[in-house]
Structure formats: structure tokens, C-alpha cells
């Protein structure tokens, strides 16, 4: 694949210059290139927010839905046509705030999609209110005494729900993020990647510098198949580990569905047999 295949050409990006979203976009495009996925094979499902605008800045099929509601859409798309590669991308507010309930249950179902969360620890598009991942004490115009609510930890959360794949990345590190993303996208089942993303306009606390200083990578000694250990690492504060925390191979949602247990053909391709419907109706005689 050619990375340009995902380019929108000469468009006006809505993001602020220097925003981490640009880096994530670039990483995504390179990852897809290296995985040799065609734009026609992919559906990018997004919510609403700055991150969610990704659908408008990359060339592929997309469903830019509602704030917080991308996961149910993604679930349905993948179930109806498992031949599609479904990637979900949205912000921390969208995914962990408004969309929290869908996140719980998408993880439980093990829907076979890659969920990339741009975690800038702030509501970007609505101009800088705290998000569920905002750090304690973070002051905004809305949270004028500073955030006092326990920050949402996406990793402990996903591990607690026994997710199939749980990782954290930092968009400032292209190569490693790309590696993580590749593993996530090729993972069979739900893959959760929380990506640290600086918001240069509203988040003056969690800057590129800050992320650099406050992150490090899990090393090879970390066993991603050990759930309790994964949890322990995910609780670490001060310096946040990056990498793949937890892998839990299990059947995907589609694989479990009655409609796919004995038949692989995507449901959308199957024709309804009206003769069979007539037969079924006769059972009501």
C-alpha cells in the first residue's frame, strides 16, 4: 500500500497547529500502509470531538456518528460484515464520559474492533473542560477549583472487564505507537489502545514535555497474559507505563453469534428465502 492512499489531498484540517491529533493521524496512516489495508476494506467509526474528526481527514469508509456512541455502531458494522476492518477512534470525553456504558459492554462482548482513544485529558472541541481522565487539581474555566474527581484509569478499567487486548501509547513516539497499533489492529477481538495526546491549546499541564517525562515503556519482563500483574502495572502513577498491558485471547462477538456458528458468509450477503418464510408461517396453523 501507498500511504498516500489515505490522504484527503488539500484540505483544511480543523485541528490546531501542533496538536497531537496530527501525529496520531500520521501514525494511523503508516500503520495501515504497513498492514496493507485498503481504504475500501476499512471503516473508521468515530464519535464527536476533535479526535473524532479523524474521519474527515483520512480517506477510507467512515461513519462519523454521535458523541459517545461509536461502539454500538462499530459492533453492528462488524457483525453485519466481518470482512471489514473496523477501527473506532474518538476522544477521552466521548469514550470514557458520554460513552462509558457502551465501553463496558463492548469489552464484555469482545467485539472485534480496534478502539483508539485520543486521550488528551480534556474536552478539546467544547473548549477545555475537564474530561474523565483529567488529572487531580487540573484547573479549567469550568473546574475553577481544580479537578477533584478520581481520574478514570482506562487500563485498570479494561483489565477489570477482562478485555481481550489492552495497551497504552504516546503519540509523541511514532515507532513504538505504530508497533502497538499494528498488534492491536491484527489482534482478533476487542483491542483497547489509550493514546496519550497533547492538546496544545487547552491542556497546559499535560504537554509533550510532560508526557515525555512521565512515561516509560513496559519491558519484556512484563507478561501480558498475567491479568493481576497487568492490573498492578496499570495502577502505577507518577510515571505511566506504555505498551501492551494485557492480552486475553478469546472468541469474538461475531464468532459467538448463532448466525455465524456454522456459516462464515457475512450476513449482509445472505439472501432471505421467502419460500422458507412461507414455510415458517405454516407452523402457526
Amino acid at each position: 500500500m501507498d500511504k498516500k492512499a489515505y490522504d484527503m489531498g488539500d484540505i483544511d484540517y480543523h485541528w490546531c497547529p501542533g496538536c497531537g491529533n496530527f501525529l496520531i493521524m500520521d501514525i494511523l496512516k503508516e500503520t495501515l500502509t504497513e498492514l496493507d489495508l485498503k481504504p475500501e476494506e476499512i471503516v473508521l467509526v468515530t464519535g464527536i470531538g476533535q479526535a473524532a474528526k479523524m474521519a474527515h481527514f483520512t480517506k477510507m469508509n467512515f461513519f462519523n456518528g454521535l458523541h459517545g456512541r461509536s461502539l454500538p455502531v462499530a459492533m453492528a458494522i462488524k457483525a453485519v460484515n466481518p470482512e471489514l476492518k473496523v477501527i473506532v477512534e474518538s476522544g477521552d470525553g466521548c469514550t470514557y464520559g458520554e460513552g462509558g456504558n457502551h465501553l463496558i459492554h463492548a469489552i464484555r462482548r469482545n467485539i472485534n474492533v480496534t478502539n483508539i482513544i485520543h486521550n488528551n485529558m480534556v474536552f478539546g472541541l467544547t473548549k477545555g473542560q475537564a474530561s474523565p481522565t483529567s488529572q487531580l487539581g487540573y484547573v479549567t474555566k469550568m473546574q475553577n477549583l481544580g479537578v477533584f474527581v478520581e481520574p478514570f484509569n482506562p487500563l485498570t478499567f479494561a483489565i477489570a472487564l477482562n478485555a481481550s487486548f489492552v495497551a497504552r501509547a504516546y503519540c509523541g513516539d511514532k515507532e513504538q505507537t505504530k508497533e502497538i497499533l499494528k498488534k492491536a489492529i491484527t489482534h482478533r477481538g476487542y483491542a483497547h489502545i489509550d493514546v496519550f495526546q497533547p492538546c496544545v491549546t487547552f491542556n497546559r499541564l499535560n504537554t509533550y514535555q510532560w508526557f515525555k517525562e512521565n512515561t516509560y515503556y513496559l519491558d519484556d519482563s512484563h507478561d501480558p497474559y498475567d491479568r493481576v500483574e497487568a492490573f498492578r502495572r496499570a495502577t502505577e502513577k507518577g510515571k505511566y507505563p506504555l505498551g501492551i498491558f494485557y492480552i486475553n485471547p478469546k472468541k469474538t462477538f461475531e464468532e459467538n453469534l448463532a448466525a455465524y456458528r456454522e456459516n462464515d458468509m457475512p450476513v449482509y450477503k445472505r439472501k432471505r428465502d421467502l419460500e422458507k418464510v412461507s414455510q415458517k408461517l405454516l407452523s402457526f396453523v
Binding site: A55, L66, V80, V285
Partner: protein, 576 residues
């Protein structure tokens, strides 16, 4: 057996009611008895009323058995089987001097206040003789079947099938119980107390017997539905459950979802990917889908919504009936976008309209409602076989080419709909106002206007495809009764009982958009009478809005129960 002095003569339309607590097996009696009667060649109808609880409380089922077709709820009770002491007080207002009450001593005590026709039958005692108290119900079945002149073989055949899996002994006990019931009935007959003269009609044997529920679900299957999500909520759950049973046979993705919001968004997602999805829910669940509905509107993604109404506000009366969510269906969602609302009145309507819902949704790329209610989904009666010869599953999805644009501006407002992975093009949809390629547009002087007009145009266009209202009765009416949805048969039967040439009944099975002839129909009448199962006359308001006509009289009911034929007859007599 102790009987008082009464006699039920030459009945050829009998209303049988079984009443007791949840968990007392009313459903078993209902299911067996209706099927037995049908096999005997009688027309049957059944509806139930029940409380929102799993055990206890007081519920009842009405079974009408008749020589002619019956499909409406009547207050009248000809035969009552009270299964506990609360039954008689519960049904007091429906029991008359002519109601024959058959039951154990302690269950019929108090009956004397309202009826003189108690038949004390020591059901439990006889049951014990047969093999245990649980056989009481079967004795009652035998008794009723015999009163209705059903051949013992038919009953025994059913019992054999039903209990086959439980072994020879159980089967025999059941048959013995049934025979004891027959014996009791013979006594009554000989005493010339009861003379039911039902006409048998072999045609009935080949007819269908299905719940409103099943009809909606089967219609969906016939419409190509291959994706359904829902969060359990009375009275909408049956459709989800039905389809979950057909998941494998009919290639349907079925999922009980975490909440209704997810449901609506998933159903929309399914169509985007080329599926044909629906949600099934009730008012409270649908209220939660309002935002998602608007997403279907702006993305122009088809979606089918089965909205089974129950009385609100909020949790309201979970297991009762009402036509109270019409306005919610009409106006839910923020911003303007077109929609279609179908409202079946009969079992066959429920089937054909559900089928059509998928066709319309696909054709116009709009949300389509199947608006039913608790009464409709939980009733059944025998009806002729459903004919699929006129049915096709149109599919408007196109194969995309390289420069496919999802929202191409066209004369009709409808843009050819592609799906991802089918063709060379890319398919994007967007919840913002967008351009033809589904990208965010803030071009207010051109694109926004075009896109709003596009959606308005679709509304105009789909007005050409409206299911016409059905006129029952004479075209030269003076008085026109107006109803919609589930009230169909109650109004029809009441009108027929009135036996007035100049009264006709106009029934709407599509309530939005309204059929263009609506105004003509109404203007022709000297008097219009609106009949609705809600407190404010929501359909009347819609008529006023679109025709300018204010109906002359309204019959509204909002206590959670459906209209009975008798109350409508009475109210109509006062009005006309």
C-alpha cells in the same frame, strides 16, 4: 357439582375468562384451549390483562370462541373460571347475571353478589383423585371443551402432544382429568343449563393463529430483517425473543443490548454496513433513542423501530395498554428530518406493514416506525394464511464506483445508497451537516440549504407512498368513526352492532404522513367521532394539524385497558 338456577341458551359466540394469580397456569389453559377450539373448527380470539409482577397479583385471559370471526375484546363474560379468591372481586364489573361461573367453592364465593349462575365444581378434589391438584386446570379444559361440543379425541390428542415428553403416566393422568371434565360438562348439558350452539367451520383448521408479536417478527423476517437489537421492556420484548429463536434459521444477528441508546445506534450501523436492522422497544426505551433517531435522520440511514406502546408517563403501567406515544414518535429527535409511522390494527396488518417497513426504510432512507401497543402484540385470533405472493424484498443498495458520493444531490432528494466493501467507492456518513461526500460543511449559503431541502423533498416524495386508510361500511356515511392502530376490531365490531347504515369507520394504518385523501373522507361526514386509547386525542391533533379539521366528538380511554366492544357501542349510541 352444585348448580344454581340458570341456563345459557343457543350461544354461538362465547366469551370464556380464566382468572387467577401470575404463576397459576392461566397461560397453559389459554394456549391449550384456544388451539383445541381452533382444531374443532371454531373461530377463536384471545387477549389477556396482567400485572407487572412474576408471581401473585391478579391476571385474566379472555378467550372468545365463535361461529363467526372474532377479533375484539368484549367485557361480557359467558363462562368464568376463577382460579383464586381474588378473581371474582377483580372481575366484578364484568360479571352479569348471565355469567356462568365454574370453580371451587372458595373461589366462587362472592359470586352470588353479581351472578346467579355459579357452578361449584370441586376441581381440586377431582384432581386429587386423578393424580394431584395440578390437574385442576386440565379438568377445566375438558369441561369447557365439552360444553362447546368439542370431540374428546381432539382434546386428548392435544394433551398427548403437549405432555408426551413427560412420559406415559403423566399423559394418561391428563387424559383422565380431561375426561372427568367432560363428565362434568355432560351433567350440565343434561340439566339443560348450557346450550352452546357453535358452528364448526373446517376452513378454520387451516388458518393461522399467531400473536401480534409473532406477526411483527414474521413480517420483519419477510422484509429481510437480519439484525435486531433490543433491551427487554414490556410489551416489546416478544419480538426480540421471537427473532432470537430464528437467528440461525434466518441468518439474523440478534443481540440483547446494554441500553436502548446502544440499540438505536447499532441498528443504524447495521444498515450502514448493508444489513437491515431494527430495534424493538417501548415508550421509555424509545425516549432514550431520540438522539439516535436524529442520527438516522441526518445520515439518511434507514432504520426500523418497533415501538410497542404502554401507558406512561415514565414507568407508568408496564403491562397495560395505551396509544400514548404517537406524538413522541412524531416529534422525537432534534432538528427536522422525514419519517414514516405505520400502525397495524390487525394481525395481518402487523405482518404486511412490518414487511413494508423495511422496504420503505430502504427506499427512502428514513426511519420507519411500526407503532403497536400492548393490546395488539399480546392478542391473537385465527386468520387466513398470509400470502407472500405479492411480497418482494426490494433492495436499493447500489454497488459503488470510484467517485461515489453518499449524499449526491438529486432531484428526488434520494441519493443512491452504497455500503462499505461493495464496489470501488468509499462510503462515508456524517452526523454533522455535510457535503455530498459526507464531510463536515459549514457552507451555510449553499450546502446547508441544499441538504435541508433534500430532506424536505424526501418527505414530499414519500407522501406518494402512503398506505391508504381503510373504510369500513358504506361510502355514503353521515357519521364517520376515526381510529388508528390496535383499536380496529373493537371499533368495527361496535359499529356493526349499532347496525346503522349511515355510520362508517375510517381506520388509519399509516398515521404519518397522513394519506392525501384524509381530508376528503372527513369533510364528507356530517359528524366525525375520534376514538383513541389515550388521554389527549393525539391522532386528532395530527388530523387537525394536517387537514385543519377538528373532529366533532372524541372517545378517549386512558386507564390502561383496551376498548371493549360493549363500551364503544354504548358510547357511540350516546353520541350518534
Amino acid at each position: 357439582m352444585r348448580t344454581s338456577s340458570f341456563s345459557l341458551e343457543k350461544k354461538d359466540d362465547v366469551s370464556i375468562v380464566i382468572c387467577g394469580a401470575a404463576g397459576q397456569g392461566i397461560q397453559t389453559v389459554e394456549q391449550l384451549l384456544t388451539r383445541i377450539m381452533k382444531s374443532a373448527g371454531y373461530n377463536v380470539f384471545s387477549t389477556k390483562e396482567y400485572m407487572s409482577r412474576v408471581r401473585g397479583g391478579i391476571n385474566s385471559t379472555e378467550i372468545r370462541v365463535s361461529s363467526k370471526r372474532v377479533a375484539a375484546y368484549v367485557d361480557r363474560i359467558d363462562l368464568l373460571i376463577p382460579l383464586n379468591e381474588n378473581a371474582i372481586p377483580h372481575l366484578k364489573r364484568r360479571i352479569t347475571n348471565e355469567t356462568i361461573i365454574i370453580g371451587e367453592k372458595e373461589n366462587i364465593k362472592g359470586a352470588f353478589e353479581c351472578s346467579e349462575c355459579e357452578v361449584e365444581v370441586p376441581l381440586s378434589e377431582i384432581a386429587e383423585e386423578v393424580g394431584g391438584k395440578i390437574y385442576s386446570n386440565i379438568i377445566a379444559i375438558g369441561l369447557i371443551a365439552c360444553l362447546c361440543n368439542v370431540e374428546a379425541e381432539i382434546v386428548e390428542e392435544f394433551l398427548r402432544k403437549r405432555f408426551a415428553s413427560k412420559g406415559e403416566k403423566i399423559v394418561n393422568n391428563n387424559i383422565a382429568a380431561s375426561r372427568r371434565g367432560f363428565g362434568l360438562a355432560d351433567e350440565l348439558k343434561q340439566a339443560q343449563k348450557i346450550d352452546i350452539e357453535l358452528q364448526k367451520n373446517p376452513r378454520v383448521l387451516d388458518e393461522l393463529l399467531l400473536y401480534g408479536n409473532d406477526a411483527v417478527a414474521m413480517g420483519a423476517i419477510a422484509g429481510g430483517c437480519n439484525f435486531i437489537v433490543g433491551y427487554p421492556m414490556a410489551p416489546s420484548t416478544g419480538v426480540l425473543r421471537f427473532l432470537s429463536g430464528e437467528s440461525k434459521d434466518f441468518d439474523i444477528i440478534v443481540e440483547q443490548i446494554e441500553d436502548e441508546i446502544a440499540g438505536m445506534n447499532a441498528a443504524i450501523g447495521s444498515w450502514y454496513a448493508g444489513g437491515r436492522g431494527m430495534v424493538t422497544t417501548s415508550g421509555g426505551g424509545f425516549a432514550l433513542m431520540s438522539e439516535g433517531l436524529s442520527l438516522a435522520g441526518v445520515t439518511e440511514t434507514p432504520v426500523v423501530i418497533h415501538l410497542a406502546q404502554r401507558p406512561g408517563p415514565a414507568t407508568g403501567l408496564p403491562t397495560r395498554t395505551e396509544q400514548g406515544d404517537l406524538e413522541l414518535a412524531l416529534y422525537a429527535g432534534h432538528g427536522f428530518f422525514p419519517r414514516i409511522i405505520l400502525a397495524p390494527g390487525k394481525i395481518d396488518d402487523a405482518f404486511y406493514l412490518s414487511q413494508k417497513a423495511f422496504i420503505l426504510a430502504d427506499k427512502y432512507q428514513v426511519p420507519v416506525f411500526i407503532l403497536t401497543d400492548n393490546y395488539l402484540v399480546n392478542l391473537y385470533y385465527n386468520l387466513p394464511q398470509l400470502d407472500l405472493s405479492g411480497v418482494t424484498i426490494e433492495n436499493h443498495v447500489i454497488k459503488t464506483d470510484k467517485d461515489y458520493k453518499r449524499y449526491k444531490l438529486t432531484g428526488s432528494g434520494i441519493s443512491p445508497r452504497g455500503i462499505p466493501g461493495y464496489g470501488e467507492g468509499l462510503v462515508g456518513v456524517d452526523s454533522h451537516e455535510h457535503d455530498e461526500e459526507a464531510h463536515i460543511s459549514e457552507d451555510l449559503h449553499y450546502m446547508r440549504i441544499k441538504m435541508v431541502e433534500k430532506r424536505l423533498k424526501k418527505l414530499k416524495r414519500l407522501e406518494n407512498d402512503v398506505v391508504s386508510p381503510e373504510l369500513i361500511g358504506n361510502g355514503n356515511y353521515k357519521t364517520l368513526l376515526v381510529g388508528w392502530g390496535s383499536t380496529f376490531y373493537s371499533i368495527k365490531e361496535a359499529m356493526e352492532l349499532l347496525e346503522k347504515e349511515e355510520i362508517s369507520f375510517l381506520h388509519f394504518k399509516q398515521v404519518y404522513p397522513l394519506h392525501p385523501d384524509t381530508s376528503d373522507y372527513l369533510r364528507k361526514a356530517e359528524k366525525t367521532v375520534l376514538i383513541e386509547n389515550n388521554a389527549t386525542g393525539q391522532f386528532g391533533k395530527l388530523i387537525k394539524l394536517y387537514t385543519g379539521i377538528e373532529v366533532d366528538a372524541k372517545i378517549l380511554k386512558f386507564n390502561g385497558l383496551p376498548f371493549s366492544v360493549e363500551e364503544l357501542t354504548e358510547k357511540l349510541e350516546n353520541i350518534v
